[in-house]
Amino acid sequence: MTPTLLFALAILFLPLLSFVFQIFVGNRIGRAAHWFSLAALGITLSLALSFLANIFITPGYALLDVNTVWFSSGSFTVELGIYIDNIAAVMLVVVSLISFLVHIYSTEYMRGDPRYTRYFGYLGLFTFSMNGIVLANSLLMMYVFWELVGPSSYLLIGFWFEKQTAASAGMKAFLTNRVGDIGMFIGILLLFMQLGTFNIQAIAEQVEFGAFDGTGILLTVAGIMVFMGAIGKSAQFPLHIWLPDAMEGPTPVSALIHAATMVAAGVYMTVRIFAFLTPAALEFVAVIGGITALMAAIIAITQVDIKRVLAYSTVSQLGYMVMALGVGAFQAGFFHLTTHAMFKACLFLASGSVIHSMHHALHKIDDHSTDPQDMRNMGGLRKKMPITYISMVVASLSISGIPFFTGFLSKDAILAGTLAYYNLHHGWTIFLPISGFGAAIITAFYMFRLIFMTFHGESARQDIHEHLHETPGAMTTPLIILSVLSLAFVFTIPSTVNPFNSRGWFTTAIQTGENFAGLDMEVVGEALHHAHEPAMMISLTVAALGILAALLFYLFRVVNVEKLTKRINKLGLYNLSFHKFYIDEIYDAILYRPFFWYTRVVAKFDWELYDQKFIDWWGWVTLKLSDWSGYSDYNWLDQKVVDGFGKATRYFGKELRLSQSGVIQNYILGGVIGILSIFILFQAF
C-alpha cells in the first residue's frame, strides 16, 4: 500500500471514525468528545492539503488511480476504486476545510444542545459521504455515496426535529433529491449497458473513441439523466425548492451542506462527467443553470429572513456554476465552486453569528416571539459585532464580483464564458449572458441590502440591541479565516500580481488535458479569450450599479438624514449640513420643479403619485417579478407539481383501494375478468 493510497483511505475513513466514536462513545464523555472529531478532521484537512501541494508541483497527472474488483460475475463486473486528480484534490481541500471550520464553529454554536455529541457524529458521517463522492472513480460508487449524503443531510437538517418545520424540511430535502437521483441511476445504467463499465475515466475514453452507437441521442439522454442527479443535489431549477426550506437546520449545517459542499456535489459530479456530455446535453445544462441563476437572484430581493436571502443566493450561484459548465467554461465553473465555498460559508457562518447573538439577546430580555432571523429586527449591528461585520462585508464584496476579491476572478470567467458562447452560437443563446449579468447586478444589490439592513442604520429594537455582543473566538476565528480566503491574492499570488488577471496558480492547477465529447476546447478557449475583456467591463459596471442601488434604497432610506446633518454640524460643516448637502435643492432643481411644472401643465399629478409611479417603478417591477417568481415557485412547483404528484398517486391509490372490497367473490370475479381482458387484449393485437 503506497502512502498516497493510505492517505486517501485516511481522508475517507477518519470522518467515519469520528461518526462511530460520537455515536457510541461520545455521549458518555460529554462536551469534551468534540476534541476527537476536531482531531480527526484536522488530520483529514492536512492530508488533503498535502495532496493539493502535490498537485501544485506536478499538475496534470492523476495522483492516485487504484482499482480493485469489487465483485465479478459473468458479464457484470463492478470495480471499486479511488481516483485523485487535481480537481478531486481541490475538492477534498474544500470539503475538509469547510468541514473543519464548521466543527470549530459548532463547538460554540451548539453549546448546551442536548444532542451535542450526536451532532458532531452526524457532521462526521456527512463529511465521510462527501469525501466518498469526491474520491470515487466510478459512477456506481459515486452514486452509493451520493445516496449516503441524502440520509446524513436529512439527519442534520432535521436535527432539531422537535420543530415540526425542521422535520418536514429534512423530509422534503430527502424526497426532492430522490427524484433527481432516480434519473441519475437510470443514466448510469444506460451508460453501463452501452459500455459495460462504471469507471468514469473508462467511459470518457470509450466515448472519445466512439463507442456509443447511433447518432449519439442515447449518449445525450444518458448525460442528461446523470445530470438530473446534479439538478436535485445542486438545487437547480426545477428541483431547487428544498434548499430554502433546508435552512431549518442549525446554521453551521447550512454553511457546510447548503453552501459549500453538498450542493456543490452536483457541480462536482457534472465536472466529472463533463467529458462525455454531448453538445445537446451541454446546452440543456447551460439553460438550466441560466434559469436558476436569474430566478433565484430575483427571489432573493424580497426575503427578510437573513438565512433565506443567503439560501436563494446560493441557488443563484449554483446556477452560475452549472451555466458555466454548460457553456464549456468548466474550469471557471469549478473555480467558482471553490471561491463560492469560501465566501458563502463565510456569509452563512457570519449570519449564524448574528442569529446566535440575537438569540441570546432575545433570551435575556425574555422575548420568545420575535424571530431572531428577521432582518427587520436588526440594524446597527456593526458596532456590536465588528468581526462578524467585516468578514461579512468582505464576503459580500466577493460574491458581488468586486476586484481584489475572489468572486471577481471566478465570476468574471463565467460571464466571459457565457459571452463567448453567445459569440459562437448567436440566436437565443443571448439569454445566457443576459441572465448572467442580470443575476450579477441583482446579487450585488441584495447582498448590500442585507448588509445595510443588518449592520447599518439604527437598531430597530433598542432593547435587543443593548444585549447584543460579539460572539466568542471559536465562532469568529473561522470567519476570519474564510474572509481571508475570500481575498483574490490567495488564488493568484505568486503567479500573477495583476488583480484583474484571474489566471493565477489556481487556474493552472485545475487545468486538465482531457478531450471532450461535447466541445472543441480550442474553439472555446479562443472565444473565451476574446470575450474576456468586454465581460470584465460589463461585470464591473453591473456590480457597481447593484451596490449603488442598494445604497440608494436602503442606506439612505434607513439613515435618518437629520441626525446625520446634526452630527456633521458639530464638525463645523454647518452650511453644507444646513442645506443638507443641497441635495433637496438639487432634487428640486432637476426633478421636482420641472416635474411640478409639467404636472401643472399637463395634469394634477402630485408628489405621492410621482413617488408611486416613478421612483418606485424599478422597485415595483422587481418586487412584482420576485413576488411572482416566488409565488410561482411555491404555488406552482411546490404545490402543483410536487404535491400534485403526491396527490395524484394518492387519488389513484384511493380509487384502486375500492377494488379491495373485502368480499372474496369479488376478488375471484376480478381474477376472471383479468384473465378475460388479458386474453382479449392479446388476441386483438
Partner: protein, 102 residues
Amino acid sequence: MDNLQSYLIISTILFSLGLFGVMTRRNGVAVLMGIELILNAASLNFVAFNRFGGMRELDGQVFGIFIIVLAAAEAAVALAIIINLFKNHETVNIDSADQMKG
C-alpha cells in the same frame, strides 16, 4: 358422439358452471361445491385426453386420481374452516367475512 370434442365441451360447461357457482353462491358450502365442479372438469379433461390423444401411458388417469385425492383433502380443510367461521360469525355466508378491506 364418442369423441374428444364432446368430452371437452362437457368439461368446459362444468368448468364454467363451477366458476359461476364460486362467484355467486353466498353459502360457503355451496362455494365449495362450485370448486368441486371445477376440479371434476379438469379431471375429466385429463382422462379424455389420455383416451383420445394416443398417449402410451395412463398418466392422465393418474392425474385424475391425484385430483380426487387432493379434492378430498381440500374439502376437509375448507369445511373445517367454514365450520370455524360458523362458530365465530353464526353464519356461513362468506360475504359476512368482509371485516378486512380497502
